[in-house]
Amino acid sequence: MSDTAALHPSVDRAEMRPGHFTAGWRIVARKELADHLLSARFAVLIAVLGVAAAAAVFSASGGIRDVAPAAQGIPALFLKLFTVTTDPVPFPFVTFIGFLAPLLGIMFGFDAVNGERAQGTLPRLVAQPIHRDEVIIGKFVAGLTVIGLMLAALTLFVSGIGIYRLGIVPTAAEVSRLAVWLVLAIIYVGLWLALATAASVFFVRAASSALVSVGTWLVLALFGNFLFRALAGLFASADNQIANLTAQVAVSRISPITLFTEASSLLLDPTQRATGLVLSTQVDRALVSNLSLGQSLLVVSPQMIGLLAMTAVVFAAAFVAFMRQEVRA
């Protein structure tokens, strides 16, 4: 373990002024990151996600190989690795990230603050010369870093298997689409990290905060569709199918899972130009052509900004609550 000694070989106590030394949140983040990387939950998560990703990509590449001889000029073939699936794997990679990745965020956040309380380390930590907000910021940054590392590793893993199985290399455009998608996925998982961190501030026991976060995730992931259908019925009667479906799509965008799924399909499929309800009359005689990345980004920006805003709001709630909380439980 090296430390700041190398950077400040001759700093004298009297010379120490804010700004001259490492920011407190960096010190907290570094320690938290080391904890995460050495934790059992990290090993378990990477194993589970790795197996699921491998299954998804083998299934997708199998499907692509089956149709490849017959098909000509499929646009952005490489990205299909992430978005198509065949039996017996039920989900393509993107869908399974949308469904499972929240677990990543929850696992690295649910005991962020109440864990310190339970161990009795919080009073000691906040009595050190760092600002109180640096504790929660450092923890959030460490969580995001681990999540980013894991998602990037998974994406590269899937790409690698794909290149090996299909023998095609991604184009520059595909690589940049994947990169943007990775940022999207990190924001999405960051939202769940923020939610779990907020729960760890509000609930004294780690079990409670884990339960609340996982509960939110399961309700949205499993029962979201029923809920949104019922809600949509309040705004538009089921008799008017188009109005009702439009309302369903609008309501379902409350859920970050919807936003992520929509944004993912827009980013990873350049032929997609809209989400939600598209009538056949609207696409009648439209030519199948690829959108440029810039155009896709324009289409996807509402979803991306929506996710970013949700993440910011939830983290702000955690932040404010933590700042106002008494050090003693």
Partner: protein, 309 residues
């Protein structure tokens, strides 16, 4: 030189007044004992000194800084060991101290960490995970943790609670030597008899207010109260028969050992008690004054305060 000064310091939680108009002045190089029962407001007072909770009214100054505004300046110079101190269970004692050193931006802390671990007697366990430590070991690690930043002020909240008697006297010796090296030590405890010997001054803190303040011996002298005498008899005779109707005897109870009695008499009447016993031909074989330490002062204040409930 005053290092911690509080003026009219008050903290309310809703209707409850945790600290009520506290005036304290701590000097460099002294051990100051903040003594009182659980729930007296000791921890709240400490948290206000560290800027970890804001006073409802009144002021605190620590080394000339206002902890509510310049929390970092205060925390840079104050070592704090909280009540029921905790550490990261999966990290070793040494790693836990390293984290504290890093948070204090200590450039090369390894030598100091080694030295402190040795001083508190954890040299052998330094590289074991804290999860394997006993509560006493955690408390000693807590002291090392608080001393690590070479603080000007050392604040210890209930430092002797979970330690065995031998550990307590070691802990107190360490505290004393820290003060002798020029630190101001603020010690909070509800175990008065354990810490009184190490304190230069104490404040007896009850229900958010200081009931008495001064050096332990001053306090004992300036608060004349009932005197407690343990009387040993050489037979099974009942002491009540000898002391029945004596006006200055306030209470008689059986003592710890067989054939001993605990007699509470009005201030300054122990010698009168002896005269009465001799005159009544009680077969006294021993007579011991029990109330010479602060315990009695302390108990008296609790009883007096309790009467207002």
């Amino acid at each position: 030189m005053a290092t911690i000064v509080t003026r009219e310091l008050t903290k309310r939680y809703g209707e409850t007044v945790a600290v009520d108009g506290l005036d304290l002045e701590l000097r460099r190089g002294e051990v100051f004992g903040l003594l009182g029962p659980n729930g007296a407001g000791k921890t709240t007072t400490i948290l206000m000194m560290l800027g970890l909770t804001e006073p409802t009214s009144g002021t605190v100054e620590v080394l000339g800084f206002d902890p509510a505004r310049n929390a970092l300046d205060v925390k840079r110079h104050v070592g704090y060991m909280p009540d029921a101190v905790g550490f990261y269970e999966t990290l070793t004692g040494r790693e836990n101290l390293r984290y504290t050193a890093r948070l204090n931006r200590m450039p090369s802390p390894e030598g100091q960490i080694d030295g402190l671990l040795g001083t508190v007697g954890l040299g052998a366990a330094a590289d074991d995970p804290v999860g394997t430590y006993s509560r006493g070991m955690r408390q000693r690690l807590g002291l090392a943790d608080a001393l690590l930043k070479s603080p000007d002020i050392l604040i210890l909240d209930e430092p002797t609670t979970a330690i065995d008697p031998e550990g307590v006297s070691e802990m107190l010796t360490l505290i004393r030597s820290s003060a002798d090296a020029g630190m101001t030590v603020l010690l909070s405890s509800h175990l008065l008899h354990q810490v009184q010997e190490v304190c230069d001054r104490v404040a007896i803190f009850v229900r958010g207010r200081v009931a008495a303040e001064g050096s332990p011996s001053e306090l004992a002298e300036s608060n004349p109260g009932p005197e407690v005498v343990e009387v040993g008899l050489d037979s099974d005779a009942d002491l009540f028969d000898h002391l029945d109707g004596v006006p200055f005897v306030e209470d008689i109870a059986s003592g710890r050992a067989p054939r001993t009695w605990r007699v509470t008499v009005a201030p300054g009447t122990t010698s009168d008690l002896m005269a009465v016993l001799v005159a009544s031909r009680a077969r006294v074989i021993s007579l011991t004054r029990l109330d010479h330490d602060l315990d009695a002062v302390y108990r008296r204040h609790f009883r007096r305060e309790g009467a207002h409930v």
